[in-house]
């Protein structure tokens, strides 16, 4: 396993460098530039040229790239063109919000999807199955922003209640923080759960037809043990793969959910970065997202072995 892990980790490096090159180039190909956005309505030509030079944006792109990459290797993700503040500081302030939201969402998504998927498979073609499949399709179809807006709007009209609008950090007041995070996490989790539930059901249906399940049952094992210990564990491997990919969906969903619930996470930071062509912010966040997704998928690959001892890393 160790050589496998080392090889995979080595592959992460060129992957991330590739990501930085693509992102660095693409953001500069977008119409509009950071200087015009900074000066907005007041972009006198002289001011724009001065500012472009001050920010170092008048230099060749490859020079800017290698300077930025050099900084990244030393832990400096750059300075925001818009706020003139270190991107690393802003990200470290915001990362806990998105990480908490994402982890809660994945946990909630799994808590919903796995039991529902199992029940749906076990009760195949019954009313329960149809209802649960309908719910799963609804979860897939309902956009997070719509659900979030409903959850914000309807209670405010019916009961004059809304989740707290002023964000409280977890370490300042855990109760208040969880009260604020739980609804957006459920919304994000619901978006995840539809796909996971359907895949869980499909895999369970396949596994439940395997000989070893029949054998386990014939041995007189308890139904729960057959389903959860023998069937689910094997059915879960493709679901695990999906979970690795769903990290990207969590990141994308966070952009929307954080805006709706006024959460100061990195999803919103990315959105503002794109709106203002704040190149260092976009580059840094994409690098971080790419790293998280690559590592999450690596973790998933490693977990295969735990779920299925037959899997060998070579």
């Amino acid at each position: 396993m160790h050589p496998y892990l080392a090889r995979r980790l080595l592959l992460v490096v060129p992957t991330l460098i590739g990501v930085t090159m693509v992102v660095f180039s693409l953001v500069r190909l977008l119409p509009g530039d950071a200087v015009s956005m900074l000066l907005q309505d007041y972009a006198y030509a002289k001011d724009a040229d001065e500012m472009r030079a001050r920010l170092g944006l008048d230099r060749p792109v490859y020079v800017q790239y290698f300077e930025w990459l050099g900084g990244v290797l030393q832990g400096n993700l750059g300075t925001s063109l818009r706020s003139n503040e270190p991107v690393t500081v802003e990200i470290s302030n915001r990362m806990p919000v998105t990480a908490e939201l994402g982890l809660m969402a994945i946990a909630i998504g799994l808590l919903i999807a796995v039991p529902v998927g199992v029940i749906s498979a076990v009760r195949q073609d019954t009313r329960t199955d149809y209802v649960l499949r309908g719910v799963a399709i609804a979860m897939l179809a309902i956009p997070g922003f719509w659900l979030g807006t409903l959850v914000i709007t309807l209670p405010s009209i019916w009961w004059q209640w809304t989740p707290p609008l002023r964000y409280t950090r977890l370490w300042d007041d855990p109760g208040k923080n969880l009260g604020q995070m739980i609804i957006p996490a459920i919304i994000l989790g619901i978006a995840l759960s539809g796909t996971v539930m359907r895949l869980t059901r499909a895999q369970m249906l396949e596994v439940l037809r395997q000989d070893y399940v029949r054998t386990a049952s014939a041995k007189g094992l308890d139904e729960r043990a057959v389903v959860f210990r023998h069937a689910l564990r094997n059915a879960f491997i493709p679901v695990l793969t999906l979970l690795g990919l769903e990290v990207a969906i969590v990141v994308g969903g966070a952009v929307v959910v954080e805006s709706v619930f006024a959460l100061p996470g990195i999803g919103r930071y990315l959105l503002e970065g794109i709106q203002y062509r704040d190149y260092p912010v976009i580059q840094a966040l994409n690098l971080i997202f790419a790293t998280v997704i690559v590592l999450a998928n690596l973790l998933v690959d490693l977990l295969y072995g735990w779920f299925d001892p037959r899997v060998r890393y070579s």
Binding site: L30, P31, G32, D33, V35, S36, M37, L38, L39, Q40, D41, Y42, A43, Y44, D47, S83, N84, E90, R94, V122, R123, Q124, D125, T126, R127, Y130, V131, G134, T149, L150, I152, T153, P155, S156, I157, W158, Q160, W161, T162, L165, R166, Y167, L208, R209, R214, E223, V226, V227, S259, V260, A262, L263, P264, G265, R268, Y269, E272, Q275, Y276, R277
Partner: protein, 581 residues
């Protein structure tokens, strides 16, 4: 075997038939419909009160300062925390000289002071621009009107925080701020007409002008030229890390993505203000969230889009709405030097193809006015194109597709035209709706407009600055919220105007603009500004459209909240309001 093992009910009873499934789906659909109906979603519900069919022609200032200015019996109560929505996104920087964005200027008003500022109070329209002293106790112009002397109040102090430690604000601070403004602010051209600023003593500041400049007070009192703390900038390089001013509130902290927080300045120079002990100015990106915050009383006040106003009034009739005319002028522009828009008849035809009443009804709840080259909101200077004094060129504002077709035919386009219409979704739903009304109007005159939406960043850095191809292409977009007619004229129509995206270079017009700029007699200047509006109505270098109101909504217990003007909410409105609870 598996059925037994997994305890699946008998198929004959447990399995759904297709009919049962269809019935279930039907019931689910009905349930969703009922849920939507019960939800009274504001965006889907028809207002109980239909918008007024005929827009009100505002010949007089139309803001409603008295609605929220109702004072409870007795004097204002001090205390409480004021929590408001301030912005949808982060501030770019806390130093107001380094960025001209509203996101920077608006928070600055809570913590910094100006020399003078617009007066607020009962019966004063939001955009009246009657100035009163902020740091200045008095001010006067010299006999030749080429210099202005400001006398500072005797009791003005910086907030009692190191390194200022509550020392007096001096005339030298004003001059130092002016000099820094000229060095670093993208807005420095605001003072192009100023020859010098000097401080003969600690309490006197003298601005000498290069030439007569009628809008001087307006420029010096606009919420850009804040008096900044010299010591902080000298120590830190700029004022982006520490906010120490002489304004009504003392800065506590700025939480990125969350908001601004501050408390009352006990040594504020305007005695008795502010009334609230603490301010929490929140960043909330989503409009639906702001509305929910108002309904749930999580917010004491917030600006609300016009389309959301009626549903809010229905669900929460107790809310107070304080309105001010919207001094924004969404225009059509193009390259006036190139065909087909170098022909004045084509430009006039396009103007006559716009149904401004329809725009008011669709976008602004049927209330507002027709802009000319001056926004209708600047009622003191605006000449009503539907009024008796406008003259013959008023006809180019009237929706008359038949006449527009004739003008196009006379210009060589008897079969109409096909054009591209460029705009951006970056200004929100309001401008998109205005674009759609324009497109419909143009169609009625035989002009097929193909809408092409540019992403905001691309728009603001190319098209907005006039970097677009001429020919069969028009742009629809707003200008900033100017508060002086000279700003509309100079910035858009003067050859040196930085926002002259249409490329206007009309010597007669340039002379008119420069003449009114040097005319200090108000009545005479108004006459000249009227003449410019009449002249531009004939030329239609830019085609003005229509605008409505901006609405601030406050909880019923908020008292003495007067109409806001521009970015000065924190200095002009918030210190005066109080919480009756």
């Amino acid at each position: 075997m598996r059925d037994d093992l997994l305890n699946i009910p008998n198929r004959s009873t447990g399995r759904l038939t297709r009919r049962e499934a269809m019935r279930g789906l039907g019931l689910a659909g009905l349930g969703m419909a009922l849920l939507s109906a019960c939800g009274q979603l504001p965006t889907r519900q028809a207002p109980a009160v239909a918008p007024q069919a005929t827009p009100r022609r505002a010949a007089v200032p139309a803001s409603k300062p008295t609605e929220a200015a109702k004072t409870a019996a007795g004097s204002p109560k001090d205390g409480g925390i004021l929590r408001m929505y301030l912005a949808p996104e982060n501030t770019p920087t806390l130093d107001p000289y380094l960025n001209v964005s509203v996101r920077t200027q608006e928070p600055s008003a809570f913590f910094y002071s100006r020399l003078i500022m617009p007066k607020k109070g009962p019966g004063i329209p939001g955009l009246a621009y009657m100035f009163e002293g902020d740091l200045a106790e008095s001010w006067k112009a010299s006999d030749d009107l080429l210099s202005y002397t400001f006398n500072l109040r005797p009791n003005i102090k910086w907030q009692n925080t190191p390194p200022l430690n509550g020392r007096p604000v001096t005339a030298q601070d004003v001059v130092w701020s002016y000099e820094r403004f000229l060095k670093v602010s993208p807005e420095r051209s605001r003072f192009d007409y100023v020859a010098s600023a000097t401080a003969p003593d600690n309490r006197t500041v003298v601005f000498k002008l290069k030439d007569l400049y009628a809008p001087f007070e307006n420029a010096i009192g606009a919420p850009y030229f804040w008096i900044m703390p010299k010591e902080v900038v000298e120590q830190d390089g700029d004022a982006s890390k520490r906010v120490i001013g002489s304004g009504p509130f003392i800065f506590d902290r700025y939480e990125s993505g969350v908001g601004f927080f501050g408390h009352k300045n006990p040594n504020y120079h305007r005695k008795g203000e502010p009334h609230v002990d603490e301010i929490q100015m929140l960043i909330i990106p989503d409009q639906a969230t702001r509305m929910a915050g108002l309904r749930a009383k999580e917010l004491d006040g917030a600006e609300v889009e016009q389309q959301d106003l009626d549903p809010l009034k229905q669900s929460n009739p107790e809310m107070q709405v304080v309105e001010v005319e919207f001094n924004n002028n969404v225009c059509i522009y193009w390259k006036v030097e190139e065909p087909p828009f170098n022909d004045v008849r084509v430009r006039q035809a396009f103007s006559m193809a716009i149904n401004r009443d329809e725009m008011l009804a669709t976008v602004f709840n049927g209330r507002g006015g027709w802009n000319t080259s001056v926004a209708w909101a600047l009622s003191e200077w605006w000449l009503d194109p539907q009024g008796p004094d406008f003259g013959p060129n008023a006809r180019y504002f009237k929706y008359d597709p038949a006449e527009a077709r004739k003008l196009l035919a006379a210009a060589g386009y008897p079969n109409g035209m096909k054009i591209d219409l460029i705009s951006t979704p970056g200004y929100g739903q309001r401008v998109i709706q205005q674009v759609e009304v324009i497109q419909q109007g143009l169609k009625s005159a035989g002009v097929e407009a193909n809408i092409k939406m540019q992403e905001y960043a691309a728009y603001i850095s190319t098209t907005f600055l006039g970097k677009f191809d001429g020919g069969d292409m028009i742009v629809v977009g707003p200008n900033a919220n100017f508060n002086e007619p000279h700003e509309f004229f100079f910035l858009l129509y003067h050859p040196k105007g930085p926002r002259n995206a249409s490329g206007v270079n009309d010597p007669k017009l340039t002379e008119m603009i420069e003449k009114q700029m040097r005319t200090l007699d108000k009545a005479d200047r108004k006459q000249q500004i009227n003449d410019i509006q009449r002249y531009l109505a004939g030329q239609m270098y830019y085609v003005p459209t229509a605008a409505g109101f901006r609405s601030m909504v406050y909880q019923p217990y908020v008292r003495d909240a007067y109409p806001r003007s521009d970015f000065g909410l924190g200095a002009e409105v918030v210190p005066k309001l109080w919480l009756d609870k």
